[in-house]
Symmetry: C2
Amino acid sequence: MVEASLAALSPAELRSAIRSGDYGGRTPGLALGYVQANLVVVEQDDAFDFLRFCVRNPAAAPVLEVGEPGDPRIAQLARDSDIRFDLPRYRVFEEGVVVAETEDIEAYWRDDLVYFLLGCSLTFEAALLDGGVPLRHLESGSAVPAYITNVECTPAGRFQGPLVVSMRPVPGDLVARAVSITERLPAGHGAPVHIGAPEALGISDLAAVDYGEPPNVEPGDIPVFWACGVTPQAIAEHVKLSFMISHAPGHMYVTDVRSDSHSLQAPDASCGY
Amino acid sequence: MVEASLAALSPAELRSAIRSGDYGGRTPGLALGYVQANLVVVEQDDAFDFLRFCVRNPAAAPVLEVGEPGDPRIAQLARDSDIRFDLPRYRVFEEGVVVAETEDIEAYWRDDLVYFLLGCSLTFEAALLDGGVPLRHLESGSAVPAYITNVECTPAGRFQGPLVVSMRPVPGDLVARAVSITERLPAGHGAPVHIGAPEALGISDLAAVDYGEPPNVEPGDIPVFWACGVTPQAIAEHVKLSFMISHAPGHMYVTDVRSDSHSLQAPDASCGY
């Protein structure tokens, strides 16, 4: 499938191409204008603690949808979609370690698994670009840098450990605008958690990334840090969680929800919203 | 204790007076400027489904804090506080029916209970008054009218049933302002779920309330409906939930969080927020 035709696919068409095996690559830049989501699957015994973890740490893990235990169908964010097949690539964790990377999770799905779809930064990156805030990692074609911090997430049951942040260098005169734009997107990690002093987060060298690639910082840029959706995976590693499935980096779940949808202000809102 | 001294108490002093038995009345109008919360306590077996219900119906049940199973201590919204003693009055439900109304729940607390504190409308009512929007039920000294609607909440496990809404008559030229003010308070039920046509919600007679007291509607007032924190109790009755504890109407949990706090935008936010 050629790039141009890929980019023109609707979310449903893209998920269909992924499900059939016609596409297995990364999703940023595809189905533009639609929300993409991080995936976390845990065992039912861990599901209440994990959901409480998300609620207590909404910047890192903004909840968009939670499945019924054992049910792989998407109820709210997309039509005719199955979490087992509709992401291009998955990672399977056991005891906090990646034990498999697969194109579907049919062989791993069980009646006691629960999926969580969490907001991701692609939504706010599109909004920043629209607002005239440059994104250095896109300019240089590299992955966004992310760091494990010395900030502890608020624990919930067995889920505890450090916050992971992504960093985007922003010209000083646009930092306030970057805050204004992203604080309106709580379903996409919201406002920055820190601006300006990496050492306050325990980051001594911005080039020494824990995830992604080292940043390209232009003169006059200020480092701006947002809570990162990798946090749940880092937590799973930290506590050696017995079982978890996630998307593979950059291989996100593509929803039918438009990025500018009001429902993003109140994810999964119902009751007449 | 006289009224004037009551109103001057800080949240911690008020909770202390409640815990010692010095005060057992309603909380609206007390500890002004601080968030008050609805209480729901369920059994651990129901806790994951109930939390998913809240996440799926954030207008009706905005989550402020969720306890650890079996632990009655408040972790985030207040210091030195115990959910068993610090509300002036509680209701105990069995099979969806109120079986007791008590001044503490020490005798009912068990190791498998989990408390939920949910946003309540007192926060947005204060904001409406500050914004110049009159509140007719306060003018007439009556309880806010609330109705069981024909709108189904998004179900989660065993939790399913109708949305309950509160209604406040608002002069037509102030309806837009009422929307603007309340949409910024998602932790206090957020924007109205319906404006103007009670029959669209299945309400044929505004005088026939399901909770509270009939409204006082002035000429030119438009009925404005917000999702109501009574919804979880109505759901418990609807599905005949085996066990639940709630606050008694008007006898709320008083937190140490200021109503104008940024944390209300992202309740329980942590990780550097």
